[in-house]
């Protein structure tokens, strides 16, 4: 090769296509003795093209021109051939569940009664502990049923300036703290306050300022 730059992606891909698995490709490059860059470029191209065992050897120098042979191999792990990984994978343990120390485990279903087995539901869906964490259902991102609008409305029921400056409470519980407030109380989320006094909005912000 006279000009390393012509050793482009397409050429490498074509070489890979026609070469048999396990086959070798030799690239001979002639460059000025001091210049290593073209060889590096060729090596990289081969690596990126999926060739392995890339080796460069200097094969002579003549009139200030260095000749370098770059040898590499097309990997041989296509279907049917045996490579270290293929062997390793074949020898891998069968699909039964195995413990970290290599012990085989009993089948979980064998521990259930006929009744339980009949009612068994699969597949497994990751989730929360049952019961206590009944999460509030939210509208989907592309909501078309109107739930999103309804939620937007509720959100906008924030506090008015009047409610902040002079809080009054018909029920008397608004100033008490979240434990005592109704589900629809506009003051939910705020610290307890005294009715009639301006409400501070800093939300129990306990930052660690040292």
């Amino acid at each position: 090769m006279k000009e390393a730059e012509s050793f482009g992606d397409q050429l490498v891909a074509e070489i890979s296509r026609v070469l048999k698995a396990g086959g070798t490709v030799l690239v001979q490059s002639f460059t000025a003795s001091s210049d290593h860059k073209p060889n590096n470029y060729i090596e990289r191209q081969l690596l990126m093209g999926g060739f392995v065992e890339v080796q460069s050897k200097s094969t002579g120098s003549h009139d200030g021109v260095q000749s370098v042979t770059i040898k590499s191999r097309k990997p041989s792990w296509s279907m049917g051939s045996s490579s270290p990984l293929k062997k390793a994978i074949k020898q891998a343990l069968p699909e039964t569940e195995i413990d970290d120390d290599g012990d085989e485990l009993i089948d979980k279903d064998s521990l259930l009664t006929q009744d339980d087995l009949k009612k068994l539901q699969r597949p497994v869906v990751g989730g929360c502990e049952m019961g206590a964490t009944k999460k509030a259902r939210k509208a989907c991102k592309n909501c078309s049923c109107g739930r999103a609008e309804a939620e937007q409305k509720v959100e906008k029921l924030g506090l008015t300036a009047e409610q902040i400056d002079n809080p009054v409470s018909a029920c008397g519980s608004c100033g008490l703290g979240d434990a005592f407030r109704c589900g629809t109380c506009p003051y939910r989320g705020l610290a307890p306050f005294k009715l009639g006094q301006k409400v501070t909005l800093s939300n129990n912000f306990l930052s660690a300022d040292i």
Binding site: E129, M130, G131, A208, D209
Partner: protein
């Protein structure tokens, strides 16, 4: 898993597997009733802190297990459960064990209480003796799981008393225990108004002393902090409108050299906001300046406890609170609310607290407390008539916990510094209250030009330091890149003296311009024959999830570079390490790796799965995640 201590004659062990805290509440109740019944030794442990191979040595165990999702065991039960299912254990393995199982589930979901059912059957098959048949708590019951727990506990104590009477000498107290009777606190506090002759002033000693007398930290055995570090660099790695704030911290020890290794984790004891600590002390009508001594009350007056503590110096109350009682971040347990109800003088408050601790109020308590991340201080401020004696506060306030961070520096390159990559955590609760991570926020506020003290311990992490000759496939999006910065730094230093194997690193973040952590660092090592360079057989690939209309993640990059990944995996001894803070990412990455092996390598799926499992077993495929 920590090995359990050798079983004392007559010890009752309560093992729980909880996901959202219900099983812990139930298990704590079992313990309280056993103690009321005069049980000489009761221990409460999470299943993931008990080594299952020690089970045959136990005499009496009560299991309290929750159900997760579609009939799955909680995370803390997984390893334990796997061990129990080993084929070779045999039908006589647990022949000396008496046990009982209580499960928590919800019959409106499928697969009702499966973990408890399977556990009960397996224990029987292993030769254990069932004290009473399993109890199944059902959320659908009008009284929740207590509907089943109440009668089950009664039956348990009665049966146990027949088998082994000395385990519950005061059984009548256990059976007739009513929620309205307030028992005694577990500790005794002695107060001294003036400092004693020898007051501790060394911060390391103070920490060790305070935390060793705290009953809530009883099983932790931390000792003194190994290091008291100074922050010398506090640098923000994220830019722009990024709502992420990730910091690069450099910590130094002013006095001693630091000894650590690649893959280690730094445990930090955070400082609490001093004014919040003051507010707590004021709210509880305590004297911050007085000195205290804490002793465990024990049934047996001659126990070691009382002797040992009398030789220990008293400690300032304020110091004890600041160093051991978490008043501004952790949420209290249900039992805390129960004891509060005994000390509420206002009728409304008392009623509310009793409601919260009743079976009917359990869901509302969960919404109010856990979902809102209520702190002890906040709760006490919302129930101002409650005046809990300090003994109870000491016993029931959640302990101040250490926080662990993967170290992101190599000791070869930074022999006297420890670097950390920390995301400053903040979030909004359902009621839109802003919460901040205690430790990350505190660290972010530390100023390198001022003196600061960061108490630390060094622990081995789960990612082992790889030998230089091992090719590595590393996947670490976001702060998951922290341990891999260590690996790359270390390998780069090693490559000066000896040939090293290449590294293929997949990183992920949202935007190239905002949160591309350590961009220069990675790029430097990906050029000029660096350990991440293509020339060396390595590679560095980044997924910017939000820089284009469709989402691109690390798993997509892995698939894109399938040939290269396959090449690496084919090398002898190659290892795959995955780190990060997402719970979904490791599963997605594993799927991508399998796809690469199947498609590029042409291997059948079953073989690939077996091979990856083998790799896991051999410690060559490790996933380290944090929440």
């Amino acid at each position: 898993m920590a090995p359990s201590s050798s079983p004392m004659p007559g010890r009752l062990l309560v093992l729980y597997a909880s996901q959202t805290g219900n099983a812990i509440d139930a298990a704590e109740r079992v313990v309280r009733e056993a103690e009321r019944g005069g049980c000489p030794a009761v221990d409460l442990l999470s299943m993931d802190s008990f080594n299952p191979s020690c089970l045959p040595g136990e005499g009496y165990v009560v299991f309290v297990v929750s159900t997760m999702g579609q009939g799955d065991p909680p995370d803390s039960m997984k390893e334990f459960w796997k061990y129990l299912r080993r084929k070779h254990l045999g039908a006589r393995w647990l022949e000396r064990l008496h046990y009982a199982v209580f499960g928590l589930g919800d019959s409106s979901y499928g697969n009702y209480n499966l973990p408890a059912k399977m556990l009960d059957k397996r224990l029987l098959d292993l030769g254990a003796e069932q004290i009473i048949p399993k109890g199944l708590g059902n959320d659908q019951h009008s009284l929740g799981y207590e509907g089943a727990l109440d009668p089950w506990l009664m039956a348990l104590w009665k049966s146990l008393n027949q088998i082994y009477p000395s385990l519950l000498p005061r059984i009548s107290h256990a059976i007739h225990s009513s929620l309205n009777i307030l028992g005694d606190a577990k500790v005794e506090v002695t107060y001294y108004s003036a400092p004693q002759d020898s007051t501790i002033s060394d911060p390391k000693t103070l920490i060790e002393r305070a935390r060793s007398i705290s009953p809530a930290l009883k099983c932790h055995n931390e000792g003194e902090p190994q290091l008291m570090l100074q922050m010398v660099t506090n640098q923000c790695l994220t830019k722009g409108d990024s709502d992420k704030d990730v910091r690069h911290f450099e910590l130094e020890d002013r006095c001693y050299p630091i000894s650590y290794q690649v893959g280690d984790v730094l445990e930090i004891l955070p400082s609490q906001n001093p004014s919040a600590v003051d507010d707590f002390i004021k709210r509880c009508k305590l004297d911050p300046e007085c000195y205290i001594m804490i002793q465990e009350k024990s049934v047996d007056k001659l126990s070691k406890g009382s002797h040992m503590n009398s030789l220990v110096d008293p400690i300032k109350l304020k110091t004890f609170v600041a160093l051991t009682m978490d008043v501004t971040s952790a949420s209290p347990r249900r039992y805390f609310f129960e004891i509060m109800s005994h000390f509420a003088t206002d009728e409304n408050e008392k009623e509310k607290l009793q409601y919260f601790t009743s079976p009917e109020g359990r869901n509302d308590l969960y919404s109010y407390n856990q979902k809102e991340n209520r702190t002890v201080l906040e709760v006490l401020e919302e129930f101002p008539s409650v005046h809990m004696p300090f003994e109870w506060l000491v016993q029931l306030t959640p302990p101040l916990k250490k926080r662990a961070f993967s170290i992101s520096s190599s000791p070869l390159v930074h022999p006297n510094q420890i670097h950390l990559t920390v995301s400053v955590v903040s979030w909004r609760t359902p009621l839109k209250r802003t919460r901040h991570g205690l430790c990350s926020t505190w660290l972010a506020g530390l100023c390198p030009s001022e003196e600061n003290i960061i108490p630390c311990w060094i622990q081995r992490g789960s990612l082992p330091p790889p030998r230089p000759s091992i090719p590595l496939v590393l996947i670490g999006p976001g702060t998951g890149c922290a341990p891999f910065r260590t690996f790359v730094e270390e390998r780069a230093a090693q490559s000066v003296a000896e040939p090293t194997a290449p590294i293929l690193f997949f990183f992920g973040c949202r935007n190239q311009d905002n949160d591309f952590l350590y961009k220069e660092f990675w790029l430097n090592h990906a050029q000029d024959q660096g350990v991440l360079s293509l020339e060396k057989g390595g590679g560095f690939f980044v997924a910017f999830s939000r820089d284009q209309p469709q989402k691109v993640y690390v798993q997509d990059k892995i698939k894109e570079q399938g040939a290269r990944v396959l090449n690496m995996l084919c090398s002898e001894e190659a290892a795959i390490y995955v780190a990060g803070s997402s719970t979904k990412m490791p599963a997605d990455v594993t799927v991508a790796l399998k796809e690469v092996l199947c498609q590029h390598g042409g291997f059948p799926k079953k073989d690939v799965e077996g091979w990856l499992t083998k790799l896991k077993m051999g410690g060559r495929f490790i996933i380290e995640t944090w929440s």
